[in-house]
Amino acid sequence: MPRLSVWLIRASFLYLLLGLLFGALILAEKGLVFYTPVWNLFPLHVEFLLIGWLFQLALGVAFWIVPRFGKGFSRGPEGLVWAAFILFNFGILIIALQFWIAPAILIGRTAEVCAGILFVFGTWKRIKPQKA
């Protein structure tokens, strides 16, 4: 597994843990009503699990597993995908600050879209028959 996939996948594991923790706190709150502000974690629960966990894990596994280029088994322009990794996580973390920074959601979503585009540019040509 390449180093970049290790980063993507381990980051996704961390979001899984945090996202599940937040979900568990909200579910417990639904059971016992002990501290209503727990509901403020709700947007982070969804962001961390859908984007941070599921999407990021998919990016990490894709970068690892899709066909490589013949000579030296290159994975193409890795720099683009590193930039995608950094922008993607910047986006998620900025969105986590939405209660403190007013335009956080807009900035974060924009960063995520740019990350997605960079990832697509970085891996597009690898979506090919194994030997080509």
Binding site: M1, R3, L17, L27, A28, L54
Partner: protein
């Protein structure tokens, strides 16, 4: 494919079917706390459980003696995920319509079980995410 993986994927498929049936119930106008059960049977019971199964099966070896990490931990992960999710799916609608101390505390337990299953997954998989 190891038995744990087969069990995770097949249980995930059952969650998928249950979710799709709940989707029909929702389309027919059922409410009362069924929507969260629908979403979580899909994203946790199906997608996440499928991922847990495939990661256990295909990720790089943990060690020569224990290529897939701890199988016992894997079975605990399976049991906690499904008992927690099942409790939630059954109790959240009760808590939404006729809240009572039993379903309240049981929801707290269900939240803890589901979070714990994620922790076990990360413990068992973290070291298998590495460079080769």
């Amino acid at each position: 494919m190891p038995l744990l993986t087969r069990t995770l994927i097949k249980t995930g498929m059952i969650c998928l079917i249950l979710a799709l049936i709940l989707g029909i119930a929702l389309a027919l106008g059922a409410t009362n706390g069924l929507f969260p059960a629908y979403i979580h049977l899909l994203v946790f019971g199906w997608i996440t459980q499928l991922i847990f199964g495939v990661v256990f099966w295909m990720f790089p070896k943990y060690s020569l003696e224990q290529p897939r990490g701890s199988e016992a931990l894997g079975w605990w992960m399976y049991a906690l995920l499904n008992s927690g999710l099942l409790m939630r799916a059954a109790l959240e609608p009760i808590q939404a319509t006729r809240p009572n101390a039993f379903s309240g505390w049981a929801l707290v337990l269900s939240a803890a079980l589901q979070f714990a299953s994620g922790v076990l997954f990360v413990i068992n998989s973290w070291k298998r995410v590495r460079e080769k």
